[in-house]
């Protein structure tokens, strides 16, 4: 009898493997039933990059705790046909019934096409791109980080002495531009003299150029630095060594800057992934769109560091309460930094307004160009 458990286990393994294969080829996997569900997670960079990808990988661990769910992960998948093939491979070879694609560029055409090709598989993508015209087995989830950058700006506006804030950014795309704008609007709320100088590095991970950009901003007089790049470690570290204050991005960088850290804009992906996990455990259906900011606990600010002054903390906490109440901070009349009126007087855009998703300008007070 002693060898029976082993052989039985082996038997079960073989059986389940065959079952997955058979089910996938027939398209029988029901995403609504968690038991036996395989979830595929796709990352654009290394899972431990101390930034965007790591934030997802850490939060997605919640999915692994759901009984009967198996999670498979693949990292460094470029936004090319490679992601199509990765999704298909997860479906065909691993029997995945739910795919999380965590990078912007995965959505169109790759994920949309895959959703059409595999109507029985569910797809979710980490950017607010899904619309009702897209396949119903696809969907989006997203946190509005610009709200947390707005809080950063409020705290930074009262922590600066030179009134010059520096922003190291990867590319002039909408999500980056709206973070820069929110940072400035936050700072201007409490300090009308504040300006933001932005430097674009041109790509998501260029450590040497990020360090150079940080130095250049400080040399030009900025005394608070923040950033929107994949892995903010270099920016925060360089600024700290130059004696500048810092605001973080993506995840907590507080330990990197014991002297100058003010606060940071962080996603709270775990809220979303836990929500998904609970839904799956109950056998429910995943919503097509799940996007939110402070009010839904999808974003947060890093606990204040030594760089935050008492009045900055007070003002930032007050601003948080306003954001949670969905108070608009894109309020007319607002001009861009070329002098065009982008919001006429009397108009305002509350958090989550679709208008914010397609921002392609920098507001007045930001020095920098979008091209």
């Amino acid at each position: 009898m002693s060898d029976l458990p082993i052989s039985r286990r082996r038997l079960l393994q073989t059986a389940s493997a065959a079952g997955v294969l058979g089910a996938s080829s027939l398209g029988l996997i029901n995403p609504a039933r968690a038991a036996g569900l395989t979830i595929g997670l796709i990352y654009v960079g290394p899972r431990d990059d101390y930034g965007w990808n790591q934030a997802h990988a850490v939060a997605a661990k919640a999915l692994k705790l759901v009984p009967g769910v198996k999670v498979v992960e693949e990292e460094n998948v470029p936004e090319t046909v490679a992601v199509t093939k990765t999704m298909e491979s997860m479906i065909e070879l691993d029997g995945a019934g739910l795919i999380f694609a965590t990078s912007f560029g995965y959505y169109s055409p790759y994920m949309v096409d895959a959703a059409k090709k595999y109507p029985k598989v569910q797809f979710r993508h980490a950017a607010p791109l899904w619309s009702s015209k897209d396949p119903t087995n696809a969907g989006s989830y997203f946190g509005y980080l610009d709200q947390a950058h707005y809080i950063d700006g409020v705290a930074a506006g009262l922590s600066t002495k030179s009134n010059k804030l520096g922003f190291v950014a990867a590319k002039p795309i909408s999500s980056v531009l709206s973070n820069i704008n929110s940072f400035l609007l936050g700072a201007r709320k409490v300090n009308p003299k504040a300006t933001v100088q932005v430097i674009f590095t041109g790509d998501w991970s260029l450590p040497v150029r990020e360090a150079e950009a940080t130095n250049a901003l400080i040399d030009a007089g900025a005394d608070v630095i923040t950033c929107h790049v994949d892995s903010p470690k270099v920016v925060i570290q360089t600024a700290e060594s130059r004696g500048a204050k810092t605001c973080g991005h993506n995840a907590s960088q507080a330990p990197l800057a014991p002297k100058g850290f003010i606060t940071g804009a962080e996603y709270k992906w775990e809220t979303i992934y836990k929500n998904y996990a609970d839904t799956l455990a109950k056998g429910g259906t995943l919503p097509n769109m799940m996007a939110g900011g402070y009010d839904l606990d999808f974003v947060q600010n890093t606990p204040y560091g030594a760089g935050a002054t008492p009045e900055a903390i007070k003002a930032a906490d007050a601003a948080k309460a306003e954001i949670k109440a969905k108070k608009a901070y894109y309020v007319g009349e607002l001009k861009d930094n070329k002098g065009n009126v982008v919001i006429p007087a009397g108009t305002s855009y509350a958090p989550y307004a679709p208008w914010i998703d397609s921002i392609n300008f920098l507001v007045e007070g930001v020095q920098g160009s979008t091209t």
Partner: protein, 370 residues
């Protein structure tokens, strides 16, 4: 001095045609058996590495096989990934026959794809797909040809090393593409991924019937065959290889060395530009930063593995495509980092290079002396 040609003397003797045939098979088999031996040694070395890490080599190679070649799906995955690699490998292999080491094919691919995408714009909406695609293909190939052709011209007229200039021009190509894609040609429909306007589904190149692989794969093989014929069966190829063997001798014989260099580079760039065209016309539908996905650099690897032979580039492109395809499965099933397959590829390349030293040294493969 009398030179005895062994070939003619052999033909003159009474060897039976059957025996001559088997002799030829035996000598030719050297080029199959030695690489296979090298692959086996790579597997043994890599297994040792896996055992040190506490992983099972059996699982690893089983997954490598299944993910790359073991199922019909895997084959299509592999072939899709290998299509751009055939063309970018040709971008390295053709100039290499003249002794030129071009490592910036990625730049020609990126600009070729970009130019293909923007040349299509005035034709969208009214011209039939065949016209749009032809215009795009011409634009892509021409741009690539000019881009690497310039590298060849700089080498010939200014004496600038082609390795360094093609690398520098790769960085410049990326800057040019990003400048226009984020600026003048930005399509506001993609606020978070700056791209040119999409050419539309109707204009996209379809898949090979019955397969999930686009036509770029077939075209890549066709181009490889044509270029193999060009380099091995024509006067152009003969002159090019003489230039590659000894440039002074080529000049002394009155060969148009400059023309040969520039045209070989232009052909090479055309291949990379064609790869860029397929990225746009068969996969993305538009040009954006994803064009620079590293195909040009993997192509260098393929070309060197294929010993700069245009035909051999095809199987090696498929091999590397298969490894890339299986890489994902290995990550998912074994929890190994993505760099694992890079270590394997690097190791395989090193061992294959070491195996080159065996050619002509094993008596079994030597032609019989008469």
């Amino acid at each position: 001095m009398t030179v005895i040609n062994p070939m003619s003397s052999e033909a003159g003797t009474t060897l039976s045609p059957v025996r001559v045939f088997f002799d030829q098979v035996r000598t030719a088999s050297e080029y199959v058996i030695i690489p296979l031996l090298a692959l086996a040694v790579t597997c043994i070395l890599f297994s040792g590495l896996l055992l040190i890490l506490g992983q099972s080599p059996v699982d690893f190679f089983e997954l490598l096989w299944r993910g790359g070649f073991g199922t019909p799906f895997s084959w299509q995955n592999t072939l899709t990934r290998s299509s751009p690699l055939i063309l970018t490998a040709l971008c390295v292999a053709i100039p290499a026959q003249l002794g030129l080491v071009i490592i910036g094919g990625e730049g020609a691919l990126v600009l070729g794809g970009f130019m293909a995408a923007i040349t299509a714009l005035p034709f969208l909406g009214w011209a039939p797909p065949a016209v749009v695609l032809s215009v795009m293909a011409i634009a892509g190939v021409t741009t690539g040809a000019v881009w690497i052709g310039v590298v060849g011209a700089l080498r010939y007229y200014r004496g600038i090393n082609e390795t360094i200039s093609s690398l520098l021009m790769f960085y410049i190509a990326i800057a040019i593409m990003n400048f226009f894609v984020e600026g003048a040609f930005k399509d506001l429909a993609n606020p978070n991924k700056p791209s040119t306007k999409s050419i539309g589904d109707a204009n996209m190149i379809g898949k090979i019937p019955g397969m999930d692989v686009h036509w770029g794969f077939v075209v890549g093989i066709a181009v490889a065959v044509i270029l193999w014929v060009l380099m091995n069966r024509t006067t152009f190829g003969f002159a090019a290889r003489i230039t590659g063997g000894n440039i002074r001798a080529a000049k002394a014989q009155g060969l148009p060395v400059g023309l040969l260099m520039i045209s070989a580079c232009a052909i090479a760039g055309g291949c990379a530009g064609l790869a860029g065209f397929f990225e746009v016309a068969a996969i993305q539908g538009k040009a954006n930063a994803s064009l620079a996905a590293g195909y040009g650099f993997t192509g260098i690897l393929v070309a060197f593995l294929a010993r700069q032979n245009a035909l051999a580039a095809v199987p090696f492109a498929i091999l590397l495509g298969g490894i890339a395809a299986a890489g994902g499965l290995i990550q998912r099933r074994m929890g190994l980092p993505d760099a694992t397959v890079n270590v394997l590829t690097g190791l395989m390349f090193v061992v294959l290079l070491v195996s080159e030293t065996l050619y002509g040294r094993i008596p079994l493969f030597k032609p019989r002396e008469s």
